[in-house]
């Protein structure tokens, strides 16, 4: 199981890019934390999600 923003999902083995492609997240407006570190955007396609991973996806909204 992979935990994403608190939800346990059966997506171990997928890459982060594959997971994101099936969601409403816009990769240009997010930051992804995995097990305490940030996943660089350039590595979304090669980052394979593993059993036990804990991931938080932070979405940026406009305004400042």
């Amino acid at each position: 199981m992979v935990k994403i923003n608190g939800a346990e999902l059966e997506i171990a083995g997928k890459t982060l890019a594959e997971y994101l492609a099936g969601t409403k997240y816009d990769p240009k407006r997010i930051a992804v934390e995995r097990n305490g570190g940030i996943v660089p955007k350039a590595k979304y396609a090669e980052t394979v999600l593993c059993d036990g991973d804990s991931i938080e996806i932070v979405s940026f909204v406009g305004g400042g």
Binding site: K28, A31, G63
Partner: protein, 211 residues
């Protein structure tokens, strides 16, 4: 009359204590974007006696900025980097300022921010916020990032909060209220978010890293 540097430092030290003020005086903080959040952060940090601020913005003051940004009607049309520096020096005459009147991009961000210990993300555009977050956390791993997301509209003041996402990455705002939803920005709520960011900077300097 403008106080001497010694008087100024003494006034800050009397308020903050020597240990904390020495830490504030030695700190180097970058503010990326000098709009509603960034201009407020810069003023709060200058008042606190932060030693050096790096100010980055490509834009000029517009009449539509005055309802929430720390500029004056007489400064319309001028570069924000220039007039914010003037405003900051009126408050904190001995602060060290480094200004860059240019757009921060993926190509120049790491170089522009090299001299900072702590970086405040204060842009208005969501994609630019995400871009800077990516660059700082992947290319400048020894620095702290204090970013903002979600301070538009008339939502409750108490919904603005600070979260620690990683050891080096703090996020302030309600993370929901998008200016793109047409709800606009009002001065107090933007200032609340800026105050969260500025205070997070002070706490990092004071080695109080939890939120």
């Amino acid at each position: 009359m403008i106080p001497t540097k010694e008087q100024w430092i003494k006034a800050l030290t009397d308020r903050h204590g020597e240990e904390l003020q020495n830490a504030f005086s030695s700190a180097k903080v970058a503010v990326c974007g000098l709009g509603g959040i960034g201009s407020n952060i810069a003023i709060l940090l200058a008042r606190t006696g932060i030693g050096r601020l790096i100010l980055i913005d490509f834009d000029r003051v517009d009449i539509t900025n005055l309802h929430r940004q720390q500029y004056k009607a007489s400064q319309i049309g001028m570069y924000k980097t220039d007039v914010l520096a003037d405003n900051l020096r009126e408050i904190a005459p001995y602060i060290e300022l480094e200004s860059h009147t240019e757009r921060i991009t993926e190509d120049n961000a790491a170089e522009l921010l090299q001299g900072a210990d702590i970086i405040c993300e204060a842009f208005d555009d969501a994609e630019t916020k995400a871009m800077l977050t990516d660059i700082v956390l992947s290319e400048l791993p020894d620095k702290y990032l204090v970013a903002a997301s979600g301070m538009a509209g008339m939502g409750a003041a108490n919904s603005i909060r600070t979260r620690r996402i990683t050891n080096r990455f703090y996020l302030c705002g309600d993370e929901i209220s998008d200016v793109g939803d047409g709800i606009g920005l009002v001065a107090p709520r933007v200032a609340l978010c800026a105050a969260h960011q500025a205070h997070t900077v002070l706490r990092i300097i004071a080695k109080k890293l939890e939120v």
